[in-house]
Every structure is written in C-alpha cells, then in structure tokens.
C-alpha cells in the first residue's frame, strides 16, 4: 500500500492563466502548499477572497516532520472547518517521563485544564495534517469557492514594487507569468523567494543535528507517553525522545551533535543499530522514514516587504523542542488572513498589515527564546551550565522542587500580543489571562463551547451587560455575543472573563484574540477600539 505522501494529491493540470496573452493579475498568490500556505488559503477563501496557491511539488510532506499540534492550532482549524477530522485521527497524550543517564527521574501528567473543547496537544503526522488541509481545499472548491491549487508550479522569479508583484512560474509545460496584489511567501525554511529578494535572517544562530527515525512497531510495545532522555547510555552526552503517532508509528529523535558526517549517519547500517540500542534488542520495528535535520533559531528582520509577505518557516525557524514550527506558522496565517482581507476590501488602511509584523515578530522572538532555553538545557554550552543541569536532574529524582526547571521543550502556547498597536483599553481588575492581546480562553457554555461561537469576524462578547446587537464602524459590523450567568455552566466563564468584577464587555478580533475590554458598554469607547483594532489612527 502506498503511503499518503507518495500520492500526487494535486497533480499538475494546465490552467487558463498559462494561455493568457498578458499576465493575469490575482489579488493573492500564495507560494507553498505546506501547512502554513494551505491554512492561509482556506482562511482567505472562507473570507471571500479568491486565492491561487502554487507549489513546486504535488504531494504532501514526505515523511512526518511535525508531529505535535497544539490546542491553538486545533481551535484555528475548528474555525476553518477541519478540527474534528484531525482530532479523530490524532493521538492524545498526557503522560511524560524524564530519564537521566540510566534511570527515570520523574513522570508528569499534563493534567488538561478543565473547560476546553480541545486538548493541549495531539500527535499527528504532518502528512496527515496536510492531507486534511488539501481535502478541505477540495471541498471548498467543489462548493464553488475561488481556490486554485496548482501543483508542479515552481516560482522562479519574483519582482516586487509598492503597487504589486510580478512572478514567473515554471511548469512541466513551460513557464508563464502572473501578477498579484499581494504575494505571500509560505515557501519554507529554504525560501527561494527570500533569496530572490536578497533578504536574509537575523538573530542567534543555533546549530545542532538530529537523527529523526519514524519506526513502525506493530505490537504497540510502548504506551502513549512522551519519553525524554538526558545523556542516556545509548546516546552518550546527547538527548533522545520517543513519541507516539497514529498508525503505530513512533517518532525517535536522537541528538547527534554538530560535528558529524551526515551521509554516514543516515545510512541504514548505522541507523538500525542506534534504534535497536534505544528500543531494546528484542523489539521488532520497521523504519518508515529517516532523516538528519539541522535546526536553527532565527527570524527575518521584517516579514513584510512591500507587497511580499513572509509566513511560517520562510520567516522564522526554531529548534524542534516545544513543537513551535508549524504551530506558530499557522498562527502567522490566522493573523494575516483577516488583515489582508480587510485591506483588500478597503475596509482597513494598508497600515493594518504593519501590525502583522509587530505581532508575529514578537511571537517569533518568544518562540525562539523558549526553544533556545530548552536547547541550552538539553545541550549545556559550558561546564558550569552542565553542572547545574545535572544538579537539577539529580535533585528532581527525589524532590518536586526542581522539576519545573527541567526543560525538554516548553510546549507551544499562543503568544499574547501585549505590545500590539491594535490593543485598546484594558481593565486591570479583570483576569490577566484574557487581557488585550491574548487569545480568548475557551469555556464550556450551556449550549456548546465559547470558541465555536467566535466565528471569524469582529464580535462584542458581553457578560451580564445590555448592549446593541450590532455596532457598525464603517463597513465593519461588530456582532454581539450576549452571555449571562445562565450560560456559565461551571463558573469558568466568570473565572476566566470577570474575576472580581460583575460584568464584562470584550471586543474580539477576527482571529479570536481580545482587542479591548471594559466592565460596561459604552458605544463611543467600543467604536474607538474597533478603529484601533483596524489599524486606524487612534
């Protein structure tokens, strides 16, 4: 049986654009049909924007790559209409175990916090995620939505000026040209478009090599846990990770260090003994995919360059500990989609796009900070750093005190845009977790989940407060979501949104982030905050 990543899911087909006399102009061209490009395309199409997606390939990601997808990613995919399928296919896990040398130091349960529709994480092969995204594109296409996914379309030249973008594309039947109002470069870590525009990366470069082996163990010998080893006997001086994926596939991640011979290390005759030492000599396994990866922590100085905007790995890269690559890229996509839509409609000034840079660069900095810290704990860079790392692990075997310092990756949580230029008033007496800039916190309501009620436009969430059903600001309609005590199933609405105050009014952005909050409704303040969240002068 062939694997899903061996099947051309969007094979090349000639498009009328290739026969046009003059280059056809599209509002949005997305380059790259990875998780980020596809998520962005779906979001934009659901907002009514026509999109063209170009990819040099015609298949989903070869081999698994990303395997951990966060709650925030699932919430975004719920809004895009594919959350259920992913959760059904994915594996949920809560138990983590930490080993040091030959012994288990401690185990922890990622006790899921009550009152959320989605778990903190699911494990799922990246190729399945991409397959679900492609399927969703196909459904939208069959409903007549203007989404054109073009396989074997390789972008070879990009020219950008303040008015638009001109690109040349190579296909199996030769080249053609397109124009775009905006080109979104979701073309991955090696981003050819970054190179074409002569742009490069900034920041601390951290380098290491990891052997990634996805193995199939039919007898399901290992339980559904995350196991992490510091300095194990089978990989001295390095780290190792074992994690379950659907279909009895296990991710083995062995750190190899910097000075290695990659070609030599990837040979099956070298990989198999390493995996055998890791799994025990009697464990039967089959290699599904092996690869050696080098990771770097860095991001572009700016993500927006005239009419070319970078999102996902093309804009920023992190080490794998914390599962922040695809998860943060998908948050780039949701951040950009509504802004681009409103700017193209003329409902918001072009300057709204500057907030994409401000918010997502801050998020990239946060992700890089987390993954750099994890990397420094896993691979101490000095003698004293190793001394403290080992002391933390030694103490943790006996005392809970130092366990919070054990860092094998802090799993991805969404960034709070504390310094966003779009934020409006805050009421400091309300709970910190729902302050302006943060993602709305889910809550079980008497008739479903709060996140499912935040459907992608501007909304005014009111709790125990009268307010009009719609507030209009220019072409933007802000619809009210009216809740009161009777909706609060288990007190969490009050705990997460009111705290010590008796009522609340929240302005929610199209990406489910909170823009402003008050205890009472005041029309003029709400209108001012909506304008602020649209990037209009305050």
């Amino acid at each position: 049986m062939s694997k899903v990543f061996e099947i051309p899911l969007y094979p090349y087909a000639r498009h009328a654009d290739q026969d046009a006399q003059a280059p056809v102009r599209h509002p949005i061209v997305i380059v790259g049909a990875g998780p980020v490009g596809l998520a962005l395309a779906i979001d934009l199409v659901l907002r009514g924007q026509p999109v063209v997606v170009l990819d040099e390939n015609d298949k989903v990601s070869r081999g698994s790559r990303a395997i951990c997808f966060s709650k925030r990613t699932l919430e975004i995919f719920d809004r895009l209409g594919l959350g259920d399928g992913l959760v059904d296919k994915g594996v949920e896990w809560n138990l983590g175990k930490v080993y040091f040398d030959e012994r288990q130091v401690f185990a922890f349960n990622l006790q899921p916090e009550a009152g959320h529709k989605r778990p903190a994480f699911i494990n799922l092969q990246q190729y399945y995620l991409e397959q679900h995204l492609v399927d969703r594109c196909r459904v939208l296409e069959s409903e007549g939505k203007p989404i054109s996914l073009r396989g074997s379309n390789r972008v070879t030249t990009v020219r950008s000026d303040p008015d638009g973008v001109e690109l040349e594309i190579n296909t199996p039947e030769g080249p053609y040209h397109l124009q775009a109002d905006y080109l979104i470069a979701c073309d991955g870590a090696a981003s050819p478009i970054r190179g074409m525009l002569g742009l490069d990366f900034l920041g601390r470069v951290f380098e290491d090599n990891f052997l990634i082996a996805d193995v199939v163990m039919p007898d399901g010998k290992f339980p559904t846990e995350r196991r992490f080893w510091f300095d194990p006997p089978f990989n001295r001086g390095q780290s190792a990770l074992l994690h379950k994926q659907p279909d009895n596939v296990w991710r083995i991640d062995l750190q190899l260090g910097w000075n290695i011979d990659k070609a030599e290390e990837s040979k099956p005759e070298n990989v198999i003994p390493r995996v055998r030492a890791f799994l025990g000599k009697d464990t039967e396994f089959e290699l599904e995919w092996v690869s050696i990866y080098t990771f770097q922590c860095r991001h572009m100085e700016r993500f927006t360059h005239d009419r070319v905007i970078f999102a996902g790995d093309s804009a920023h890269q992190v080490s794998p500990f914390g599962a922040r690559g695809a998860n943060s890229g998908i948050q780039d996509a949701e951040n950009l989609a509504w802004k681009l839509d409103l700017v193209l409609r003329g409902d918001a000034p072009t300057s709204l796009l500057a907030s994409y840079d401000a918010e997502r660069i801050a998020a990239a900095d946060e992700n890089i900070r987390h993954s750099t810290r994890a990397t420094d704990f896993i691979t101490p860079k000095s003698e004293i750093s190793r001394l403290f790392r080992d002391a933390v692990l030694d103490l943790s075997e006996k005392w809970p005190a130092t366990r919070p310092l054990v860092n094998s990756g802090r799993l991805s949580t969404p960034a709070t845009y504390d310094a966003s230029p779009l934020n409006g008033p805050n009421n400091a007496g309300m709970p910190p977790r729902t302050r302006p800039g943060s993602v709305a916190a889910d809550v079980a309501l008497s008739d479903g989940w709060l996140m499912d009620r935040l459907t992608g436009g501007f909304q005014l969430l009111t709790i125990n407060v009268p307010a009009p059903d719609v507030v209009t600001v220019g072409n933007i309609s802000v619809h009210r979501l009216a809740l009161d005590r009777s909706d609060d199933l288990n007190g969490l609405l009050s705990a997460r949104y009111l705290g010590s105050v008796g009522s609340g009014v929240y302005l929610i952005r199209p990406d489910q982030h909170i823009a402003a909050r008050w205890t009472d409704y005041d029309e003029a303040s709400v209108i001012k905050a909506v304008k602020g969240a649209l990037g209009m002068p305050k």
Binding site: D390, A391, L395, L405
Partner: protein, 61 residues
C-alpha cells in the same frame, strides 16, 4: 532592596562549620555538584524572583 543583607543566621559559626563539613572528603567535582544542588534548593525555598535577582547581582560584586 528585598534581599536581607543583614545578619540573619542564628549560631552563625555552627552553620559555617556545617557548610565546610558537608564538603569534607569530596573531590572538587563532587563539591561543585554539591554546591549546585544546594543553590538550587535554597533558591527554590526563597522563590521570590526579586530576592533571587538581587542575590544574583549582590553575589556578582
């Protein structure tokens, strides 16, 4: 300043003797590891980030 920089240990001489005694018979590497564990346990006990930051800079001078 939140860090207590005034004398605070009763029977200070006894504590000091205990500290030195705890290192007796340890190699340099074992002593270093012991110190690291001790710092981590004490830091956790203090907990207060301001006090910890002030102690870090006071110790650096």
């Amino acid at each position: 300043m939140k860090l207590n920089t005034l004398p605070n240990i009763a029977e200070a001489d006894d504590f000091y003797a205990d500290l030195i005694a705890a290192h007796e018979g340890l190699t340099k590497a074992e002593s270093d590891a012991f110190n690291a564990r001790l710092i981590l346990l004490l830091a956790n006990h203090i907990g207060d980030r301001t006090v910890l930051s002030e102690a870090l800079s006071a110790a650096a001078k």
